[in-house]
Amino acid sequence: MAELAVDPIEFELFKNSILSVADEMALTIHRTTYSGVLKDNMDYSTAFFDNAGRLVAQGFTLPGHLGSMPSALAAIKQRFGEDVNPGDVFVLNDPFDGGMHLPDIFIFSPIFVDGELMAYGGTICHHTDVGGRVAGSNASDSTEIYAEGLRIAPMRMYEKGKRNDTFFAFLEKNVRLPVLVSGDIRAQLAACHIAETAFVELCHRYGKAKVRFYMNELIDYAERMTRAAIAKLPDGTFSFADHIDDDGIDFGKPIPIKVTIVKQGEGIRFDWTGSSPQVKGAINATLSFSKSAVYCAVQSIIGAGIPNNEGVFRAIEVVSPPGTITNCVLPAACAARGLTGFRMIDVLFGALAQMLPDKVFACSDGGNTGISIGGYHADRSPFIYVDFTCAAWGGRPDSDGLDGISNLYANMASQSVEITEIEQPILIEQYEFIADRGGPGKFRGGAPFRRSYRFLASEGVLQVRSDRRVFRPFGLYGGEPGRPSMNYFTPKGRPTKLIDSKFTMTIRKGDLFSHEVAGAGGWGDPLERDAWRVLKDVQNEFVTLEAAARDYGVVIDPARLEVDVQATTALRARMRQARGWKAIPSVVREPALPQAAE
């Protein structure tokens, strides 16, 4: 074995082959899945491990899954040890035994070549429903894991090729849409099957010894690449904190999320100490999820196309004390921990903006709002509508934040309005940008949109998880915070009222719910924004005439829609004097951060 040496060309060919196996697995899921959450939101990932359970290659991946796979396979290995046989397929979803939150079901299949365990194929899919008290199993207001659905400990769903009927029977009896869930599990199994076929072929092409050797080398390669990229970043300690408004249970109690980055040479450490203890509401994140956020942020700033595997993890240290919202323990509820993930990403970019001021964007809209509407039709058949929606990126050092875009942490697609309306008892009445909501800046924060849902069945349950009502998306380097997220409810025939950002409520036929995503933060001094950009925003109704003057100091002739240059210069001078900046504020928050947290 010691004879093997890396042939850089053969290695590159091997790397191409094994990455294409992982991608092929992902495509298989994409094409065969049943549910919109998987198909449109792409809330799934695929991966490939060596026989020691070390991640070698990951296929297309939701960023939130970057760190999830190794913990899951480790839980399988801990439970079953050496007792792994050809034809076995393992499954789990328990956040306290390898999982992340209950809707994410992990499936792993060991791959044997000539009787020897060589590798594992793994998949993770967010399932539409895994039971529990609220349809969609996503509720943010559960207060313990026991309310959230079926917990699957690490177990075999196939044993030596034989289907574990007990497992499937339990599963099918405990979820609201067993056909959908089984269909998506079949997609996961098909992906594992693809992994096995392709990997066996790879072993026959290269020989087992070389495959082992190159899998190891692929990990080392990723580590070298990551360390080299980290070494180029500025050294130092960078700390940043922000808040989740509340957990929807303890109303009005802000939840701090804080990270400290220590960068020294080739090493980088992310410490979540200072974040809130775990909370009652279902927004607690597992350590694997906190790692995912870190890996996503690191990938975004080093951007070298490094394959995500064990080697990357070796180069990045992540610390979070147990019992906190960034590393929760039993019996924490975690179904809606996506929110905490998005806030972690906001905080990570806030810290990285200090390290790399000319590279990082201002705060985005705060991440997905989760909206689910569930109930029963007249014939008692269930319906569940689950939508995650988000809209806007923060302003950037050289360009505006994007309007109408997925959050960087969850590259999700929207679901078609027309498809939603023929499948669900819902009429979507508005889906449009809102003016004056993006944070003003030299480069404006992205504009959010409004989505309104009219309910058409006789009765149902509406559950919403939104945030950024109180703690608005921060601006950078003089850019202002984005405007807050809003929820409005119009019961049939009655006046519209402002309602909470997180809630579960009964709705009836004809009721209208309207959600407004928060605007993203601006980057740079709004008084330095090119007047023509402001004019263009006014023409396109992203900014009103009043806001052009109020937020940017740009005076526009309302009849001719032209910039009044003289009046603009004068107004900007007055505004500069009035605000009396001594230095450009690096972070602009609303409300200001409590002293203790900064």
Partner: protein, 709 residues
């Protein structure tokens, strides 16, 4: 005096022209594209051939044309100024797109600039629901106001897309009528005409693109017809569509969205036709040029099509998972997988010390280092020169001389030196890595769709396709490679093999068990009437019309469909379970699994492909390239990997392969170089195709392995 059919394919640098005579004689001509007015190069190129061959314009029986005019207009944002009318509350559907970004972890990402600015997107207060029922009626007075405002904004075209108009087009038709009356000169593109299918973003985007390119395409076609008349060419002008079928100039001007990817489609259709001629029903076409390589699958003699694609979406491999790039067009198009690998792809070493090929390309300018036009980065072509595959004296028949020493120097300095490898080993490695990148395109259309590439022949063309094909076939376990005549200009050649073809579709969403055969017959009847009308307008008698029906089906709840052929003749209630079974089988074949018998199958849309079959066969049985009879050059040293080392390799002309030659050998032609590696053997078939047989001993154990798994 014999007649000629002429294929013309416009590329970024060259316009390729192929004449095919009644007697099978082929004359090809490459002229520089004239970017300011593409029509000029065509007329000039034709005139040059007329003069050289002593031919007259009236001898041209048909002009078949593949053009990038429409796609360039989109990519360069040079389309018309257009307005969009939408349902109230939904004017931003076009700009919000699907929210998806095509790349992960890229904070610098910019969305493609929207083709209709927000201020030119107007709303009307109306609403249909998914059943096609009017929830809120449309007020004609409001429509009139909106149209007048758009006219005041000086738009050249108006696109209209209202919610659920596929289910009930009444409101869109009202807008159309009012707009016709108030602004008779404005170009209109109405979604229920353009694409009567569900999904508002896809429909809006397609309708908008159609409006955006319509004025430009119409002007271009008028001009081209005029220019051709001036040289006495009055023959019908037919355009290649993205779907691989031809359309008349008139229909193309009406629905230009159908001709946007017209270039790459022609090569695949040509490959399909030639393969059919030699009795091959399963091929993978492989087209490699200077910047990209494209693969496509032909199965049972039929091309495969994608339901939608993105114009300017870049490389398609990634986009199979990561949609969101470019401009979405939901129009059937030949399904191509594309990778950024071509002769100009740059070789480099990444931070981990591993050699990489592309996706950056030196393009045509400065091009590879050996062109000596200022290029400083080693490219795939430079590696091929070092390996002895490309004759530096014989590019484009010797009209361009290449500097081999520059290739060697730059590869040594940038690749071999830093990697600690010999020059030839490094160059060969780069060649293999380029091949492995392109193999991903081949896998994307085969194994990723549940098809085993080893069951297919590889049909290679484009300037660089024949150079890589046999090596890739060896690695993939493919037994046979076909290299057609005129491989380097094969896209124009392919145009000659295409027929008139139109695709019609309509959303018809019902559970298969709940829909009656009568309803389906009626729905298809409507499409068939449309199709017959279209073909009759193009001059086809009913006997020459071929209509084929397909249904798009999925298991209820799935959001991805499979297309299943539906037999001719009226459906009966008994044929519906057969359709359901055919779907289950296809699902199993493509994905390796199917649902239980009781799981409901839903029909999503009905489709119709209408072909017009010409009265006489348009392509002679045998074709021959004129003017390729120069003597073959001397053998040269070429490198085929450490196993073989440098090998004295015979250099041949295509005609020399009348006798089968074992590899290694090199076949040099005017427009392409074909490499036959050791272990393979090449000969000619009766139709002038080079047939390379790959020794498949190597793939035998893999077959067993796959079977065992």
């Amino acid at each position: 005096m014999s007649g000629y059919r002429v294929g013309v394919d416009i590329g970024g640098t060259f316009t390729d022209i192929v004449f095919l005579g009644d007697d099978g004689a082929i004359i090809s001509k490459k002229v520089s594209s004239t970017v300011d007015n593409y029509a000029r190069a065509i007329a000039e190129g034709l005139a040059q051939v007329f003069e050289a061959a002593g031919m007259a314009g009236r001898q041209v029986a048909e002009v078949l044309h593949g053009t990038t005019v429409a796609s360039n207009a989109i990519l360069e944002h040079k389309g018309a100024r257009i307005g969009l009318i939408t349902t109230k509350g939904f004017r931003d559907v076009l700009e919000i797109r699907t929210l998806r970004m095509p790349k992960l972890y890229n904070m610098a990402y910019q969305k493609p600039q929207t083709l209709v600015e927000r201020r030119l997107r107007f709303e009307v207060d109306e609403r249909m629901n998914g059943e096609g029922e009017i929830v809120r009626p449309l007020d004609p007075a409001e429509v009139a106001r909106v149209v007048d405002r758009l006219v005041a904004e000086k738009v050249e075209a108006i696109a209209v897309c209202l919610l659920h108009s596929y289910a009930n087009p009444a409101h869109e038709r009202m807008i159309k009528e009012i707009a016709r009356k108030r602004a008779p000169d404005l170009v209109l593109s109405v979604s229920s005409d353009v694409l009567p299918e569900i999904k508002e973003y896809e429909r809006t985007s397609t309708t908008v693109i159609n409006a955006y390119v319509k004025p430009i395409v119409a002007t271009y076609l008028e001009r081209l017809i005029d220019d051709l008349k001036k040289i006495d060419v009055k023959a019908p002008l037919l355009l290649m569509q993205s779907n691989g079928g031809l359309t008349t100039a008139e229909a193309a001007a009406e629905m230009p969205m159908n001709i946007i990817e017209s270039g790459p489609a022609a090569g695949v259709v040509g490959a399909q036709a030639l393969a059919r001629q030699i009795g091959l029903s399963k091929i993978i076409s492989f087209d490699m040029g200077g910047t990209t390589a494209k693969a496509s699958l032909v199965e049972n003699g039929e091309v495969t099509r994608a339901e939608e694609y993105s114009v300017g979406g870049g490389i398609m491999i990634g986009s199979r998972l990561m949609s969101g790039a470019g401009y979405l067009l939901k129009v059937p198009a030949i399904d191509l997988a594309e990778v950024g690998a071509g002769g100009g792809s740059i070789l480099w070493i990444d931070a981990g010390g591993v050699p990489q090929v592309g996706p950056q390309s030196a393009g045509a300018l400065p091009g590879p280092v050996c062109y000596d036009l200022g290029g400083s980065e080693p490219t795939v072509t430079d590696a091929n020169i070092v390996l002895g595959y490309i004759n530096p004296e014989f590019l484009a028949g010797g009209s361009v001389r290449l500097k081999a020493d520059k290739s060697r120097a730059v590869l040594q300095e940038r690749l071999a030196g830093p990697l600690g490898l010999s020059l030839e080993r490094a160059a060969h490695g780069a060649h293999l890595i380029a091949a492995s990148n392109m193999m991903r395109a081949i896998k994307a259309v085969s194994s990723e769709r549940g098809r085993d590439p080893r069951e297919y022949a590889l049909f290679a063309f484009g300037g660089n396709g024949p150079l890589f094909a046999a090596g890739m076939a060896q690695a993939l376990g493919i037994a046979k490679v076909i290299v057609p005549p005129s491989a380097g200009v094969f896209s124009s050649f392919g145009l000659l093999y295409s027929d008139i073809e139109y695709h019609f579709s309509r959303t018809h969403r019902r559970l298969l068990r709940a829909v009656g055969a009568a309803a389906l017959n009626e729905a298809w009847g409507v499409l068939e009437e449309q199709a017959r009308k279209r073909l009759a307008a193009d001059g086809f008698r009913p006997a020459r019309m071929r209509l084929g029906r397909q249904a798009k089906l999925h298991y209820q709840g799935q959001s991805f469909e499979l297309s299943i052929a539906v037999g001719d003749g009226p459906l009966t209630d008994a044929s519906l379970p057969e359709l359901e079974e055919a779907f289950g089988q296809e699902h199993e074949r493509t994905y390796g699994h199917r649902a239980g018998k009781d799981e409901p199958v839903e029909i999503v849309s009905i489709n119709l492909v209408a072909r017009g079959i010409p009265e006489l066969p348009r392509v002679p049985d045998k074709v021959h390239v004129t003017g390729e009879d120069s003597a073959a050059p001397a053998p040269r040293q070429a490198y085929f990997g450490a196993e073989h080392g440098w090998t004295k390799t015979p250099v041949l002309r295509r005609a020399d392969l009348k006798r089968v030659h074992p590899g290694p050998c090199i076949v040099e032609e005017y427009d392409a170089t074909c490499i036959v590696p050791p272990g393979a053997a090449a000969g000619l078939d009766d139709f002038g195709n080079i047939v390379i047989n790959i020794a498949t001993g190597k793939s035998a154990p893999r077959r067993e392995a796959a079977a065992a798994a």
